[in-house]
Symmetry: C2
Subunit: 354 residues, 2 copies
């Protein structure tokens, strides 16, 4: 029996993608070799990497607009450092909306002056600050479009004259935005794109090359760009599976099509959280994430019963992060509406029998 | 038909490992979930990570000797930078035996003073320098135990009072050494350990914490050690498959058993290179690698014919690196003796019919 996988990441991927990935580990396209034993310099893998990069740009509407898509390693955590190395000359501006923004700020401070333009730490990051000024001499403004732990999401991108940089690990490819507003957009693969082990960095080439310090090779986006993500051995399996997922999304109708599905799932989920007197949402209404719904039980004594009912319904991965407590239902691209319906049914059943 | 895979890396892995990895991508141990959709915080994955780390230390004979095994991302290329960040206070000493050593030196120079104690660049790195002095005030001596591109290998570890650091990407787990001589030993997985996408770092904990500068979190071995390689989301598939490969090696009898097999393959290969008048070895005899045999054809006009005969025999991945030319037969742990015999037979056949 297949579980309803609400894990916050690594998380559910399309079933057909997991089957195709498993097949390729056995043998890649009748080549007589497994995907994981071929050279990354082979024609077969170069084609996979090129396709993954092309699909990423195409889905974001950034083909032929001066952007490069890179598949790197090290997760968003490495990009906290790399973005500062590549851009921070005078001053970096950061919007602090949660744990990951806070970590990005910490790493950037090793390299230069950092300004926190606003923070929602005062309310345990349950909202997105909207009124703030970005210093005129900032090299860039760094935001986190979706905050997995707290379940908040930036709905309208900030208007700014400086380079906009975003950690979009937990909502990339989930909703339509004007992606040409970004100078650098990065995301760990393990939510909407693929397995853990690769990180997509989409970079507008004109934003690079403006710092005077030297950048270590592995953190230098220009180095990776010049080598088409092959400066060193790429994480072959993670790139291949990301390519399959992006291909799946394109065939589904792209970001527009998946956004409609994601909105339907979020409406169903939040509708029940708001209707059911046993539950309470954590995030500010207007900032609620379509990816991660955070909520708590009003009566702590019902926890054991609710957990047991969820387990019986094969619901997996809804424990909240320790910073928030309660529950978190992550509803990434590949999660079916039926899984959300199953969780909502259990919530209703708890209410009926409590 | 399965090919004879002599690829320099990513490369052949044990067939049973590839089959088990494929199965886990479909479903992990009857869990109702794929390996690549489970949380890295799940009990199932924590057990996988713990087992991988324990096996690495056990195989190296370093259990309970003050070492920590870490599974990180970014390849050896990232460790060029990280080792310098973690150790370079006064001066870093480097033995330059090839392309990768040269790159390690380049990255370390960004962080402080670097001394090249010896280099074989004068002979296109076809030998290992053996007579050299390490400055008394060096924080560490960095070596590359096996040079994939040139086919050379350090047979006797240097005697030194300073911390010995090694990039052993292409010969880790292939031969017995006194691994307790290393302060830091690192290796990209994609030769003898698993698929591309994770890097093993084995660090003697007492060598850390001695630099006065701040280290970025993702490059700080103490940070990763304190979180048991879970500071950020680890590359789940690559770690799992590495664990399977290490388990395979342990069941086979460990490094001692595989070393005997590797020696037999190398003797067969080099025996033919030396016997057959049509071929010539590249590396100095006493420094020949048991992992990568580099050789050239004495008559360039035979190239097309030899390549065609190899292809007919399903021999894959023996083109030499552009820095050396000719051929390179990589004979990693999982390559069967029968594959080497097949290549040797083709070489004999070329001689017979040339």
């Amino acid at each position: 029996m297949k579980k309803h996988n609400f894990s916050a990441g690594p998380c559910i991927l399309p079933d057909e993608v997991m089957q195709q990935a498993a097949q390729a580990v056995q043998e890649l396209d009748g080549s007589g070799l497994s995907l994981i034993e071929i050279s990354h310099r082979s024609a077969a893998f170069i084609e996979i990497m090129d396709k993954a990069c092309a699909l990423a740009l195409e889905l974001l509407g950034l083909t032929d607009k001066g952007y490069k898509a890179l598949f790197l390693q090290g997760g968003a955590s490495t990009q906290f450092l790399a973005t500062a190395y590549n851009l921070l000359e005078n001053k970096g501006a950061y919007l602090n909306t949660g744990t990951w923004s806070t970590k990005a700020i910490k790493e950037a401070k090793l390299l230069g002056e950092v300004v926190e333009v606003a923070s929602s730490a005062d309310a345990n990051f349950n909202y997105i600050p909207k009124e703030y000024a970005v210093p005129a001499d900032a090299d860039y403004l760094h935001i986190t479009t979706n905050n997995t732990i707290f379940g908040t999401q930036i709905k309208a991108l900030p208007e700014t004259d400086t380079v906009l940089v975003s950690d979009s690990s937990s909502d990339i490819f989930s909703r339509q935005l004007d992606f040409s507003k970004f100078g650098i957009l990065y995301a760990g693969a393990q939510k909407n794109m693929g397995p853990a082990g690769t990180t997509l960095v989409v970079v507008k080439e004109e934003v690079l090359g403006k710092v005077t310090h030297k950048i270590p090779s592995m953190l230098d986006y220009a180095v990776h760009g010049a080598k088409d993500s092959m400066f060193n051995t790429p994480p072959v399996f993670a790139v291949y599976t990301s390519m399959l997922t992006l291909d799946w999304l394109q065939k589904l109708g792209g970001i527009k099509a998946i956004e409609a599905k994601n909105n339907a799932k979020a409406e169903l989920m939040y509708g029940e959280i708001d209707r059911n007197p046993l539950f309470k949402g954590f995030a500010a209404l207007e900032d609620r994430s379509t990816m991660n719904a955070t909520f708590t039980l009003e009566k702590a004594e019902l926890k054991e019963r609710f957990d047991s009912m969820c387990a019986d319904a094969l619901i997996s991965g809804i424990n909240g992060h320790r910073s928030v407590g309660g529950y978190r239902a992550s509803m990434y691209n590949a999660l079916p509406l039926a899984s959300v319906q199953t969780l909502v049914d259990v919530m209703k059943e708890l209410e009926r029998t409590a």
